[in-house]
Symmetry: C2
Subunit: 337 residues, 2 copies
């Protein structure tokens, strides 16, 4: 086993969008697990846009502290157990998922990682965006046959799966939003959306009224801002909204706060009895969580594809984040070590 390992740290706070120059890939000693801890060699980790919010200072009053220069980045990861002294049920070689990505080796208390159960055909699918998409739709938004579903950020890591899963759960019409006409075309041709709206052109509310003329029953919101406003305008009575991400701020080149403040008219929420909730987290306590069962079956049958881009080598992770924020990719962005 090597004595040193690599990790990505925040080197400097960006003024606008973060680029590779704001990160450093540093050599660190391989951590030594204490009794009850697990040492993992990471195989995959996920690059996710909320990092920009945390780099930009976080959001006061939330449980997530901001990232400061010198901090190691983090995110969903899948790795192989190297050692787990005094931990029952984990052996070297077992695959686990956890939250300490952006480093080649990670050490954590046994309770902070979970063994992969083999329900998903691709270990990288355990990074969780499929679980977020499934759980947001099935549990939080309670998609029902016949629903019209709008997925903002429809080509992102969560959105590229949510559009497909909405249909598999019985939605009648699925509309996505994305950042360019090219990607809008791919949403329809590759990801099964019935229609796509494009930000930066005509008002989203106007485009959405055409794409979903009968209104929407469900929103999976990865964006916030104007897209959330448009969804409120398009909502049918009793619509269920689940808020997952705030790309509106995270993708904006001109702001460093990077959240997605939005002006909402609460009279509309009342008059239409709209339900809007922050995504409630994965239900993955049980031995075989519902989402891995369902998503695993769909992936094996080919009903669901897992759109993602793999970037090889931890040294390319900062560029992967830059490309993700720049909207270069469709689907999840995964760094493979």
């Amino acid at each position: 086993m090597p004595r040193t390992s690599r990790a990505v740290k925040l080197a400097a706070l960006p003024d606008g969008l973060p680029g590779p120059e704001h990160f450093s890939v540093v050599d660190v000693p391989v951590p030594v697990p204490a009794d009850g801890e697990v040492l993992v060699r990471n195989r995959y980790f996920q690059v996710f846009p909320s990092l920009r919010t945390l780099i930009g200072g976080g959001v006061k009053g939330t449980p997530f502290p901001p990232l400061r220069p010198g901090d190691t980045l983090f995110g969903a990861a899948v790795g192989e157990v190297v050692a787990a002294p005094g931990v029952a049920g984990l052996r070297p070689g077992d695959l686990v998922r956890h939250w300490l990505g952006w480093r080649e080796h990670a050490v954590m208390p046994a309770g902070q990682c979970a063994p992969l159960d083999g329900t998903l055909p691709d270990p990288a699918a355990h990074l969780g965006q499929a679980g977020v998409a499934y759980t947001a739709l099935a549990r939080d938004a309670r998609v029902r046959p016949g629903d019209t579903v709008f997925v903002s950020g429809g080509g992102g890591g969560v959105g590229s799966l949510a559009g497909q899963i909405a249909r598999l759960l019985g939605a009648d019409r699925v509309v996505g939003s994305t950042g360019s006409p090219d990607k809008a075309a791919r949403l329809v041709s590759e990801l099964g959306y019935d229609a796509a709206v494009v930000r930066g052109g005509r008002p989203i509310a106007e485009q959405l009224a055409e794409a979903a003329p009968g209104g929407i029953d469900v929103l999976v919101d990865n964006v916030g801002g104007e897209q959330l406003q448009a969804a409120i305008t398009a909502a049918r009575p009793g619509a269920r909204f689940v808020l997952v991400g705030t790309l509106a701020g995270q993708l904006a080149p001109d702001r460093s706060g990077t959240t997605a403040p939005v002006e909402i008219d609460t009279f509309q929420l009342i008059a239409k009895r709209i339900e809007m909730r922050g995504f409630g987290g994965l239900d993955d306590a049980g031995p075989r969580p519902e989402w891995t069962e369902r998503v695993g079956a769909w992936l094996r049958s080919g009903d669901l594809t897992f759109p993602h881009v793999r970037v090889a080598g931890i040294e390319h992770a900062p560029r992967a984040l830059q490309e993700l924020i720049g909207g270069r990719h469709l689907g999840a962005v995964i760094v493979e070590l």
Copy 2:
């Protein structure tokens, strides 16, 4: 039976706050019920602040059309059946509740009125604000023992009951907001609030942080605007918000749109898994709805008081609305005919 009856119509659109000069009390023929319709002589109706929103032009995209000059106002009412030709189960003298207040006589299809079942000791309590308060807390916000509850507009028709009902459902600490230090004192001394915050003084978020230092689990929002923002800041993870009213706009002297737009940071909703929903309406289909059973028992035992002001005579209804919007009263404002 008289041939003529009186009704209140909108006479002119106000520029700012509506006053008696914007309404006219007119003589109209007593309507004649067709087969399957019910003619009701109203005994009470409720004056509610959302009328200002409808007078101010309504809100686009909602099911409520604006009120225009010449339109008769409306609102929850309780009255006595005068005639119900061809309607099974309703006899002259029966009390019913319905939505055609602001007139001495009303006629409607039988399906649009519901008989009072005697579960509430005061027929005026059937006007529904107790039902809104109970249902918002028990069903929509799922108040649990130990919760800290914030009721914005804590002295209003719904709020004055919600504060008391939150406690009866097991809330540990109940904080209300209101428009003046005088009313704040009455919230604590008469309505059982543990503490009250006052709008128009120091920032609500600052006052709320002191009144609920551990944060809030539940919001019953009758106000919107700054108070909703403050509640988001004060929310504990998993907080449940139910949106009932938009007094922030309706009480404002300087606006005629009269809704309550508010800037929300959706990242906070996500990070804290906040659930926010427009009030879902009363469950009052069954023969004895849950809210009338529970509220009736509390009213009879004296655990709950029904704070309200009665104004006698339909000709005073416009002034009652003006006083309601001016924040003159604590509790519901009911016109008695």
